[in-house]
Each structure stands twice: as C-alpha cells, then as structure tokens.
C-alpha cells in the first residue's frame, strides 16, 4: 500500500490534512481530512441575544470574520423584522469588500502564486518579484485597513451590530480609502495578467455545479436572498437545506454538502461562472478577456477569478464610499420590530456562500444552523483530487508530483488561507 499523508495540513480554519491511499495504479482512498477540533458553535448561541450571537459566530473564522458577522446580522435582522437604512447597507458592503480584498490578496499573492512561479513562499519570491510582493503586501494592508475602519478592528471587530453600526467612520478616513482603492487598481490589473499567464493543468477537468448568491439588480455582488445555481435555477435562500444537504463524514469535522446528490463548488469561480457576465468597468473587460469554457470544468481557475474579483472590489470601493457618504449619519441603530421570528442570512464569503439561519424566540436565539463555504466545496475538492491522483498514478507519477498536484487543487479552492502554505507532509510506505 502506498500512502501519501498530508498532515498537518496546517489548517483549514484550523487543522486539516490530505490522505491518499493507493496500491499500484488503483486508488483506494483520497481524503481531505478536516481535523479541526469541534467547537459546536451552533449550540453555543442558543439562549443568547442576537447581539451576543453576532459576537460569538464571527469568531468561527478570523479570515472571514466579517462574512460571518454579515450573514448573522442578515439572518437575525430578518427574524427580528429590522430594515436597516441604506447608509448601513452601504457601509456593510464596504466592510465586506474589505474582507474580500484581504482574503483574496493573501490567497492569490502569498499562497497560490509562489507555487506556480516555483518558489516555496512569498518571501523567496521577492527576490525576482520584489515590487510585486511589496505591492501585494500593500494591498493586503489596505484591505485590513478597510476592515479596521468599518468594523472597529482588524479581526472580530464589534462595530457592525444588530440594526446598524455602533459608530460611523470619519468622512476623511472614508475618502482616503476611496482614493487608495483607486490607486491600487493598476497593480490589481497587472496581477490579473500575471495569473492569466500561468499554465493551468487540464488533465483532471470535469463538470460540476456552481452556486452563489444572486445579488439581484442584474449586477455582480456578494450578497443576496436568493441562490443562483449553474443549472439555471434560482432558489430562495430560505431553502438552503435542500441546496446543501449537509452530511456527516467520518474524516471531517466540517460536514460535507451535496446538491441533488452531486458535489458542487462555491467561491470566486462560482460567482464568476454564474454572474461574471454582469461585471462592468475594468473588471468586466478583464473577465471577458480571460474567461473561457475551461473555467466551468477546472477549479484552478479560481485563482484567476479571485484576481478579477479584486479588480472588481477595488472599483467598487470608491462607489461604495460615495454611497456611504451620501446618507446622513442617523439613526445609527435600528431597533427590532418583533421579538420572535425566523430568518436566513446568506452572503458570499471570499471562499463561497455562507448561510446563517436562526429562529428567535422572545428575544433569544432558539435555533441556529450555520453552513460554511468550505464544507460545500469539500466533495468537489475530493472529487477533483481523486481524478487527478488516478490519472497521475496511471502515468506512473512519483509521490512528490502527486503531492504538488493535490496541493494545487486543494489550494485553488482556497479552503481557508493558510492551509495552502505547507499542506503536504510526505510519508512513504514501501509496497508490501
């Protein structure tokens, strides 16, 4: 038995690994293990106030803390009959853009790119691509700044709260953010070109289904109450259970999801495949230039999708700042109109659709169900990996080649940033 173990896969929101078991050219098992300790967050929020829930659930993840916060707020506000004013909506969009930029810049530049360029990490890459690395770090720093300004701190900021914001950012700071975003667009455009120039392996391509929020208004966006599926259906997010069908998998602390019994993919590539046509401006041009039908069958294009989304987000920042500033400051926080109710919040986290579903009873959380993006892509991650391993084995590839390809596939899904830096630890067992 040949066994390729990738453990620790450092982390996928913590602790993960890859297990490949094969005998000769026959693949026994290809697993993406989620080894993260269980936190039982859904049970922790029971009996808590909506504000307390938000403060707890955002802490599921430090990278997509604001997506969790946003999804929770939307779910809870629906349940409580809260309509937030347009200024709050605009500022939430801004914080969400900040997070998308933070997460994508980290993944694309620091984690994915070094692999393709043949470097072990971004620091080593700096030798040849010094200015690019510096600018990538500047972009990430800017994104962190947007998160800090809108949410209160870089990670787990409490400022976005049920019904609005504790405090609106200063006008001058927002205008500066808009200015900085504009200044970063040329670099982001250059990055799209750089990534588009990388060769994407094609031997494991396969069909799948893509899902993302339908932002409505014919635009590209990161949030919506309906879910658009690549099979043409548009489903109300309230039906999320029929879309995701969570199931337990014994090697994973995160549950696996299947749509109509089949694996599906969420994230930047899903958004671009489903909605990319709607992008306008420079992002729209870049999308039209680089999109092709292989995107529908190859998850590695997710890197390029993320790069294009960064251009989109940077273009969006200044528009969103204008929208924030267009409205007066008051009222900062809208009160609930009812104390009991149900609501589902669905937003696009950087790595895909995130659902927070709540039932509130007498002002306290009575039931909660949270479905995270990585769980939804897990079946596809394993499907593509398995296919790749089967083909590579049949071609007689050695362990290191298999390891690299498995890494590229898992990393492309961006299951959660840091995992990609050093996912494979090799343990070779000689065939008996």
């Amino acid at each position: 038995m040949r066994e390729i173990l990738v453990e620790p896969l450092a982390r996928v929101e913590g602790d993960g690994g890859i297990t490949i078991r094969a005998e000769g050219k026959k693949v026994h098992e290809v697993r993406f293990d989620i080894l993260e300790g269980t936190r039982l967050v859904e049970t922790l929020v029971i009996g808590k106030t909506p504000e307390e829930d938000v403060s707890i659930t955002c802490r599921i993840c430090a990278i997509c803390t604001l997506s969790h916060r946003y999804a929770a707020l939307r779910g809870l506000e629906k349940a409580l009959g809260i309509e937030v004013p347009p200024k709050v909506q605009a500022l939430r969009s801004l914080m969400h853009l900040g997070e998308l930029l933070e997460s994508h810049s980290l993944h694309v530049f620091l984690l994915a790119l070094p692999d393709f360029l043949g470097y072990p990490n971004a620091v080593a890459m700096a030798e040849k691509y010094g200015p690019e690395v510096v600018q990538a770090l500047a972009l990430k720093k800017f994104a962190n700044h947007v998160m800090t300004v809108t949410s209160g701190r870089m990670i787990h900021g409490e400022n976005p709260t049920v019904g609005g914001f504790g405090k609106y950012p200063e006008k001058d700071i927002l205008l500066d953010i808009a200015r900085q975003a504009q200044a970063m667009i040329p670099f982001a455009e250059k990055a799209v070109g750089l990534i588009a120039g990388l060769s994407v392996p094609d031997y494991f391509e396969d069909d799948t289904v893509f899902m993302c929020c339908e932002p409505g208004d014919d635009g590209f966006g990161l949030m919506g109450d309906r879910i658009r599926i690549s099979d043409g259906k548009v489903v109300d997010a309230k039906e999320y259970r029929t879309l995701t069908n969570e199931k337990f998998s014994p090697h994973s602390a995160a549950k696996h999801c299947l749509y109509q019994g089949k694996p599906y993919t969420v994230g930047a590539i899903a958004r671009c495949n489903n909605l990319g046509e709607r992008m306008n401006g420079l992002a729209g041009k870049l999308f039209k230039k680089h999109w092709n039908k292989r995107w529908l069958r190859n998850p590695v294009f997710n890197n390029l999708a993320q790069a294009i989304e960064m251009v989109w987000a940077l273009e969006q920042v200044s528009k969103t700042v204008d929208a924030v500033l267009q409205y007066p400051d008051d009222p900062p926080i809208v009160k609930p109109t009812r104390q009991s109710g149900e609501g589902v919040g669905s937003v696009e986290a950087p790595r895909g659709t995130l659902y927070h579903a709540y039932r509130i009873q007498d002002g306290l959380v009575a039931e909660a169900n949270l479905i995270i993006p990585t769980g939804q892509s897990l079946e596809d991650i394993e499907k593509y990996m398995r296919k790749a391993v089967e083909i590579l084995l049949s071609q007689g590839a050695d362990d290191s080649a298999i390891r690299l390809q498995a890494e590229i596939i898992v990393r492309a899904f961006d299951p959660c940033i840091s995992c990609s830096t050093h996912m494979v630890r090799f343990e070779r067992h000689d065939p008996r």
Binding site: G14, T38, T43, A62, I155
Partner: protein
C-alpha cells in the same frame, strides 16, 4: 550587546487562528519579527517547519481532541517557555463557554448525531493550562498586535513582560468615551483586563469581555451596579460567560464565588 537569537515556535490549536493572523497582518513589523529570532515553526506563515527544542513556544487555540492533548504535551516537553496567546489558549474561548444547561456530550450529539470521527477523538474544549503548565498568558480575542509585539520583545530579552493591571475602563477614559454603564448598558469593562485600547466602547458598544478578567475585578460591585440598571443576574452571567471560557470563570470564582 549582541544576543544569541532564540528558537521560537508558533502553534495553533482549536480556534479561529485570529491571533496568528494578527501577527501576519502586521505587515510593517513582519520582517523585523522574522529577523528577531529563529522561527522554527509557524505553520500559518511558512512551510519549512522543524520540530526542534524551543526557547519559547507561542500557542494559540484551545485543546479539543485527545490528539491535541498529546501534541501540546509534546511541545511543552521541548519548550523552555510556553506562552498562551489569545482567549482560547488562555481561557478556553467561546468553545469552552460554560452553559449551565446541558453537558458537552449532549451538545456534541446535537451537532454530529451518533456519528464518530475516524481521524480525531474530540473532547470538551479546554484552555492550555488544563493540560500543560503555562508560563505566560497574553489574552484577547484576538490579541492586540501592539501588545503582542511588546510582550514578545520582552520575552526574547528573557524578561517578564509588563501587562496592564487596569480594566478596560481606564483605556476607555483615555479615549474620552462616555461611560456606557452610566448610559445604562451592560458593559463588562470594569471586570475585563485592559490591552484592547477599549475598542468596543470607543464604537459605542459595550465591552463583551474578550480579554478575560482583570486581576482585581470587583465582581460584586459590577453585579450590584448592573442590577441597579435593571439587568437580571441571569443576563449578566450569560454575558460574562460568552468570552469567559472555563478558565475565566475559575478566576472569577476565586474572587466572587459562583458567577
């Protein structure tokens, strides 16, 4: 005076990895940080990690599986100093919240049913010091970057770092905020260690307690005050327990009895 660089390692257990991310997000300090010591292991930031003896191990996250217990014990064995960073490592974090309703087993079942894991043996989440000796704690959810680098600089000089001895309220006054307790809000500021720069009250939001208790919290006075403002003991306890993993409650019990 040139000192020999120390060997350090950073590790993440159960949590959101926000504390390590705070370090990685400190772009301006990152190069100095990597130059300041031999960073033998930092899986979030680099790939060539080594399992060597360490002068200091920084540990994020709580312990929530049997495998993690063994791993943290192994790190302890090869580390001269072990520093818990972040609320999860120091106090257990949200996942170690005492709920007072039902046991962990039942909650585990309600999420995972009768299923069992092949790859891990989950246990109820606990802070690091439930399994190994912890030499120093840097609390926060997440940790404050400035505080981390100050503490880190002291530790690599082999001296005990200075930590704030005052509650969030002091930092809140320094920032010229209005006292939210006086506005009738359920703010935990007086009980919670400073270090966060009073970030939540500075946004008109009550302190949620994510830095854990200040050494000398006057719990009975805070309870009396909040009761006077119309909050029930149940509400106050619930709020206090959110970021107060079992570790916090242990210290508060010492001060006040049951909370």
């Amino acid at each position: 005076m040139e000192r020999k660089k120390l060997d350090i390692g950073l590790y993440g257990f159960t949590g959101c990895n926000g504390d390590q991310l705070v370090i990685i997000h400190s772009e301006d300090k990152l190069l100095d940080f990597f130059a300041s010591a031999n960073i033998r292991s930092f899986s979030l930031a680099k790939s060539d990690n080594e399992q060597t003896p360490l002068d200091i191990a920084f540990i994020e996250g709580s312990i929530s599986s049997q495998e993690q217990v063994e791993h943290v014990q192994e790190i302890r064995q090869r580390s001269a100093l072990l520093v818990a960073i972040g609320n999860c490592a120091c106090y257990g974090g949200i996942q170690a919240m005492e709920l007072g309703r039902e046991g962990w087993d039942r909650r585990f079942q309600s999420v995972y049913g009768e299923n069992f894991f092949e790859v891990r043996t989950p246990i109820e989440s606990k802070p690091i010091d439930a399994f190994v000796a912890v030499d120093f704690r840097l609390p926060g959810c997440p940790i404050d970057a400035d505080q981390f680098f100050a503490v880190y600089s002291s530790l690599i000089r082999k001296t005990k770092p200075q930590m704030p001895d005052y509650p969030v309220c002091a930092e809140c006054r320094w920032r010229e905020n209005e006292c939210l307790l006086l506005k009738g809000q359920l703010c935990l500021g007086p009980l919670i260690a400073g270090g966060c720069k009073a970030v939540c009250p500075s946004h008109n939001l009550p302190c949620v307690g994510c830095f854990g208790p200040v050494e000398e919290a006057n719990v009975s006075s805070e309870f009396a005050l909040l009761k006077e403002k119309g909050f029930t003991v149940e509400e106050i306890r619930r709020r206090l327990r959110i970021h107060s993993g079992s570790g916090v409650l242990k210290s508060l019990k010492n001060l006040f009895g049951e909370v």
